[in-house]
Symmetry: D2
Subunit: 338 residues, 4 copies
Amino acid sequence: MSDPRILTVRPKEGEYAWTFGGAAPVARIEPGTFLNVYTEDCFAGRVRSEKDLVSEVCEFPFLNPQTGPFHVVGAEPGDTVAVHFVSIEPARDWAASTTVPLFGALTSTHATASLQAPLPEVVWMWQLDRDRRTCLFSARDSDIQVELPMDPMHGTVGVAPANLEVRSALVPDAHGGNMDTPEMRTGVTCYLGVNVEGALLSLGDGHARQGEGETCGVAVECAMNTVVLVELLKGVSTPWPRIESDTHLMSTGSARPLEDAFRISQLDLVQWLARDYGLSELDAYQLVSQAGEAPLANVCDTNYTCVAKIRKEWLPSGDPHRGLHRHLRETAALLSTP
Amino acid sequence: MSDPRILTVRPKEGEYAWTFGGAAPVARIEPGTFLNVYTEDCFAGRVRSEKDLVSEVCEFPFLNPQTGPFHVVGAEPGDTVAVHFVSIEPARDWAASTTVPLFGALTSTHATASLQAPLPEVVWMWQLDRDRRTCLFSARDSDIQVELPMDPMHGTVGVAPANLEVRSALVPDAHGGNMDTPEMRTGVTCYLGVNVEGALLSLGDGHARQGEGETCGVAVECAMNTVVLVELLKGVSTPWPRIESDTHLMSTGSARPLEDAFRISQLDLVQWLARDYGLSELDAYQLVSQAGEAPLANVCDTNYTCVAKIRKEWLPSGDPHRGLHRHLRETAALLSTP
Amino acid sequence: MSDPRILTVRPKEGEYAWTFGGAAPVARIEPGTFLNVYTEDCFAGRVRSEKDLVSEVCEFPFLNPQTGPFHVVGAEPGDTVAVHFVSIEPARDWAASTTVPLFGALTSTHATASLQAPLPEVVWMWQLDRDRRTCLFSARDSDIQVELPMDPMHGTVGVAPANLEVRSALVPDAHGGNMDTPEMRTGVTCYLGVNVEGALLSLGDGHARQGEGETCGVAVECAMNTVVLVELLKGVSTPWPRIESDTHLMSTGSARPLEDAFRISQLDLVQWLARDYGLSELDAYQLVSQAGEAPLANVCDTNYTCVAKIRKEWLPSGDPHRGLHRHLRETAALLSTP
Amino acid sequence: MSDPRILTVRPKEGEYAWTFGGAAPVARIEPGTFLNVYTEDCFAGRVRSEKDLVSEVCEFPFLNPQTGPFHVVGAEPGDTVAVHFVSIEPARDWAASTTVPLFGALTSTHATASLQAPLPEVVWMWQLDRDRRTCLFSARDSDIQVELPMDPMHGTVGVAPANLEVRSALVPDAHGGNMDTPEMRTGVTCYLGVNVEGALLSLGDGHARQGEGETCGVAVECAMNTVVLVELLKGVSTPWPRIESDTHLMSTGSARPLEDAFRISQLDLVQWLARDYGLSELDAYQLVSQAGEAPLANVCDTNYTCVAKIRKEWLPSGDPHRGLHRHLRETAALLSTP
């Protein structure tokens, strides 16, 4: 891609970011730029066989490397950065998943602390067939194999947080970050509220696929070649990350306990409908209560993430975020993808 | 329906049950019986216009009337009762929803207690078009109307609880009860573990449709004419309510905080796959983590309910619950539905 | 004690209650009656040595036997029963504690479900010196012994619940029940809101002592000889169990997650001060925020229990519950204790 | 104080830190240094009368100013910094408390989100009598006044966090920070695990007194003149902040939901006893279960904080943290306090 609007970034070792906030920008980009980026997997590429245990090959806190951050020219607190996912393609024909001691939903953890012994540390290597778009699961304790559809996504996308903070790339919160929702797939636009000048956008943590809730704490982790189109919405604030697809509006909430993540995401969707669709808050509350979906994103990270989702065809007429998603979709279609 | 295998029950006022456990059976039924029942709505039919506020027309604790209980002949603790939903049809051309003071997900409650004033009490009357299978939402604070697909379901189905307890019909727990999941629709089989002799099955709380999470605490509440086919699985225990459709296996968990409902449902699905599909527990944990869905049921009731769900086509070969769902599906197809 | 106002009850095997609600009263008592009762320990007396594992010697659901219920003549919904603890004396010179598989705060449980193995099941036998008022802890894995002060209390006291429910004696909720707070000691008055005619009061689960939070799920469990003085407050409602000592007012809340138990207890104390001490709700909120104590009761039972506590000498003048505690204290002093 | 071991620091406006981590050290200090510091109140001194509403006079995120950070010479990750509180004296004869919109335990918040209106914003000015050691509460809605004992403490003390993070001074976590426990009073030693070279210690948020749980979210906030003695324990790690008084050992945990804060604090205390007192983990679990106290610290901050506490006289012989508290106590006694 030699298009001047396209910036290609393939970080070398030592060039990744491990936090949101606190890292110097790798580039300044104008709104309207396509980023063609390589992202490494959450293990920094160190889990390559069933013998590579996270506790042995990974080096804390150097987990979940992010490509970026990118300084979006003109972005200021109170604005919104829109990240449209043009394509997300596995960069390898394999991916890895694993249990991690005292991490995941079906084990005690450092926070849900117990005196029990951790679960065994086991690695599953998944074979990816990029032509047939499949991921092959091979059981460790039997000969069972199961082929699942590939459904590539990014677990992590975000901007620098508010309140002068720097957060680990493992954390999801109002700045985005490690939300780990399968909804962050090709074709959607993610809206992120800007907290610092330039927004400082980065992304990583590609998954060839992931179940809702990411129960064991780790998805089908994979390096990715990803193209996103980045835009800027001046003067529009976005309190929590939102996602728009061709068919749905989605709000996210990240918190503990999980009901607070639910409450945040539902209130955000209610207030989004009230702002952009002419409904009163109570009418929007009623409509979301009967028409909404609530797929869990992750129930394993430092905060849990919940998605509130509603079909656009079930909404009254409205123009969310000034019609930006439709515009980005059309612009992306003009690009000859790599 | 004059088929001897069919029992028709249309309770009169005073003949409903308000609890699981603690109510005398209305009938004894043999396994293999079709129940053709009328269920009243959760308001006991008392909310019939926008002027009928729950706090004025309803009488606590007489909420969420249940049709039943039915004594299933031969059911003993350690067995499983299977309830196959043959049809769920709205009995009226309207349904009601409402806010209830200090009840719902986006308000403080008697448990998540605060010093704030409750939200206003507002009723929404929904028009049902049973031919076109639609539900019409009419906003209260504007002229906006939205037509949604009808998707009838039962919020409540369960058996007498364990541990000598009697629980309000408003409570979901291991005995089933008020789980409020939209997955409880026509065509599925619900498996319930038996805790007392005869199981004491009842059901109610029909919804013309409901969003995931039932955010405002109340769905599109509607009286129903429902046909279920009841079977008994001797010697098979079911620790938490499970649902099987033609395409999916589902486990439920009901608890607070919401992450515990998630944990229960996920562990139950993992252990179900381990029992019936030949996977080790850790392999099942990995497969569910990557292939599972996790739609919320309710985040408003005394316990919150979460569903763990997996596509049967993505599983290795297995025969869950001895192939009972397929058998019930076929048996139901033979019945000329009313 | 041959005083006509005294009723002595020493249940035989088979005469205990295992629930709140759902059990026939063992006696009708007039307000002003002293109950001189024997209570068995939570294991129904079956854990008598280090070899008696709960999973082997106890029979679910026959845990936590209650002495009662007592029908308090004249008690109706909306009234309050007051239970003044005159004396609580260990009935044996030993007590037992233990880990129970998948029960307790530092282990996964049936609700906080995990794939980990349970902790080992270990019994600790405690020697009680009733003259010196001490409890002797003997470590199992070393020769260490520690002598702690005896501080006898009842883990469980309550009335029949509202909403037509019957709850296991293991559950704490608005009806009281298994609150497991060390504050329920000799000299205090416990106020319980009446939900059914006659209140149906019972008590049990004596502890020679207990830490706050009851971390391992089990206290120093002991049969007790206990004297309580029971009174009735007509026309005074008590939404959650309250405790009054000579020095403190206390409100309890029982719920999950633990912050909801905290919220309930704090709101109840704020509203208690607003009702009986002439403070506005916001002023009471401020005073409790600066003057209150918040000792945890249990973080292991079906609901967790939190206590909100304030010194009476730090309150403006007021007369809580019509001065009943002071009156009961004086009446009890007149009784020659056994 | 002209003692060379004493460093006096009275920051000017613009010289406070607003985060843990991410701020340049104001001084390098040798272990054994006395810090004689002024700390401003959590409002940065801007709430000075009943008319000064936080939402009007304070400027987010410039809340909770910290004095520091101090680079402790020689401190490296894996070590422990000990902060002994020699004296904490109110710097003014008044202090302020207030409700803050959508902050506190008895209101919905940005995380426990609801559609309800916030509580009214009210300021209470407290008069401090430093000679009589009292704090005078004056109700806003009546003439009621109540005098409470002064019990000065620091809500916030901590070091730079691990994992490359920078956290707002409003956050409590494993690095300490805004724990808001009344136990952080004169005479105690706080142990903090070192995460970065030099530790980067800071403190602030003085309270003339505070209730357990800090229910309304704000204590009796007061600028302080405080003397601490700082020491370094090489090669001793401290996973969560610990506090030692002359009479008690205390562990803290900060997390959501509140039961996780409880679990962390209890597990830490159990493992502390196992390390320093020769008990096995299960024996320590039993002893803490029967002898421990569990006073809540805060149930309002970004994480909730719980304290696990045990009397030293009830422990077998042991020498926690190499007897450092006793040594610091003696050293402090030699200092002629200001």
